[in-house]
């Protein structure tokens, strides 16, 4: 594989960039693989990469019904954080933060991970207390967290509404300075390129039509490009999880919903980190291109449409304007929707299933991007070793039976409210 660096860039510039190799090949599916990952999104590609790198499983394939990186890894707001209250989520994602910090070098692909911090704003004492509970819990898990008062918040975001003409004044906020953003497409492409270089077949435009299962064991998968034998299948298809579950006769604690996001026109930098509004569901950051990247509520009804409706966007941006009045004269440039696996307690599932050789990675709600590396890392472990890693041991499917729920928001099963 060609190494990417400033030197290779300069060298290639003098041959008019004619000699760059493909980032990943476009192979025909083989008859059989040691393992198949379904879903060429961030999580699927990361899983394949770590299977090859950490577990030396290289006779494997990632199969993708469309083009790689076309799902939620390519349509999110790129926020990366580990500011969770529950130990299981916090430790899992903090392990992921370490993976993020090394990712560009490890993949030899600049994913532009940039820890410019995240501030969750609070607008009441009760909210400050809830953030204190979360922040203290983070600190006790070794994660950085700072509780900011109003004046401290003002230093970070002086353009927020600190005037008197405000419905819910800013009381303070919880900050995770090491949180940040990354270039979402680059994550998918970087994993794909390295996985490919280690022998993983990345097969696009290959849709799963069914599964071969006998005596409770996975034997293979049927696809639009033929039947492929394998003893291990990892399902990484957020947004389509329920559809494949149906083909497997499984029902999951997941509902499928559409989440919209939008960007403004690019403007000169004025917002450094990520900010979330506390009196409404709204989050914002500014990309390296200058666009304000904004998101918030789900559209609020089951949906497989990668497009949303205006009232939700209006509602989200209303919160945005309450926080940052300067947004009023910025223009909304582009909107899009992603299809989410909303799990019943808001936390993901990475686990084995009742079918031998079938592993499941789903339920990411709207926070899957930040967990891409750790999800791939733990899922690869689970598939390769046929047992869960301690990090994902609580992200189990049966927690809904035992009651060991990980409900960070306390909203329960009405997924569309969360």
């Amino acid at each position: 594989m060609q190494n990417y660096s400033i030197f290779s860039l300069v060298k290639n510039a003098f041959s008019n960039h004619q000699n760059w190799e493909v980032a990943w090949k476009d192979p025909e599916p083989k008859k059989e693989y040691d393992a198949i990952i379904i879903g060429g999104g961030g999580h699927g590609l990361a899983t394949a990469y770590y299977l090859a790198k950490e577990h030396q499983l290289t006779n494997i394939a990632v199969i993708e019904k469309g083009w790689i990186g076309g799902g939620n890894v390519g349509r999110n707001t790129t926020i990366i954080r580990s500011n969770f209250m529950y130990d299981a989520n916090a430790r899992f994602n903090e392990f992921g933060m370490d993976l993020w910090r090394n990712l560009s070098l490890e993949l030899n692909f600049n994913v532009m991970f940039s820890p410019r911090g995240i501030i969750n704003l609070a607008h009441s004492d009760a909210q400050m207390n809830a953030y204190a509970r979360r922040g203290n819990s983070m600190r006790l898990n070794g994660i950085d967290a700072v509780l900011l008062n109003r004046e401290e918040v003002k230093k970070y975001i002086p353009m927020a509404d600190f005037s008197d003409d405000v419905r819910f004044p800013i009381f303070g906020g919880l900050m995770q300075p090491s949180a940040g953003t990354a270039r979402h497409d680059a994550v998918a492409w970087g994993y794909a390129r390295q996985a490919d270089s280690m022998g993983v077949d990345i097969i696009q435009h290959c849709e799963v039509t069914g599964f071969e299962i006998k005596n409770g064991k996975i034997l293979g998968v049927n696809t639009s490009r033929g039947n492929i034998k394998t003893k291990k299948i990892g399902l990484c298809v957020a947004g389509s999880t329920n559809l494949l579950a149906e083909k497997l006769n499984m029902t999951l604690p997941i509902e499928t919903h559409c989440l919209q996001a939008c960007v403004s026109e690019p403007v000169k930098p004025l917002l450094d980190g990520v900010v979330t509004y506390g009196a409404g569901h709204f989050y914002i950051s500014q990309s390296d291109k200058g666009e304000m990247v904004m998101g918030g509520d789900l559209d609020g009804y089951n949906s497989y449409a990668q497009r949303g409706n205006l009232p939700t966007l209006q509602h989200v941006l209303t919160g945005g304007l309450a926080l940052f009045p300067f947004l009023s004269r910025q223009k909304m440039l582009r909107t899009w929707g992603g299809v989410m696996d909303m799990s019943m307690d808001g936390s993901p599932i990475i686990d084995k299933t009742h079918i031998d050789g079938l592993y499941i990675n789903c339920g990411w709600c709207y926070g899957g991007f930040k967990s891409t590396p750790v999800s791939g890392w733990t899922f690869a472990h689970t598939i390769a070793q046929d047992r869960v890693h301690e990090l994902n041991s609580k992200l189990s499917l049966n927690r809904f039976t035992t009651g060991e729920l990980l409900d960070e928001k306390g909203l329960g099963t009405k997924t569309w409210i969360g």
Binding site: L252, T256, S303, N309, T401, K414
Partner: protein, 89 residues
């Protein structure tokens, strides 16, 4: 923005309604013996089909009636709406 025909009030904007999830989820009868699995299926498990979906909506800023809506989860086309006690094909 969806346009939902409330069987009591007529066509109304989505803004007047709130969503109530899969209408095929049936609560086990009171005092009935139910297995753990049956109960968890009711509380947590969802089919979330792609395409036709029978669901509940609440006319929150209207007549405050819960209604049934048969909607397409890809196109959002609404095929039929009905009162709770009415059958929907």
């Amino acid at each position: 923005m969806l346009h939902i025909k409330c069987p009591y009030c007529g066509l109304r904007s989505q803004k007047e309604f709130s969503y109530g999830g899969d209408a095929n989820v049936k609560r086990p009868k009171l005092n009935a013996e139910v297995t753990d699995k049956e109960w968890d299926d009711f509380v947590y498990m969802r089919k979330s089909p792609k395409g036709h979906h029978l669901e509940l909506w609440h006319h929150t800023s209207g007549c405050r009636q819960w209604i049934k809506v048969k909607r397409d989860t890809i196109t959002h086309e609404i095929y039929q709406t009905a009162k709770i006690e009415e059958q929907i094909s």
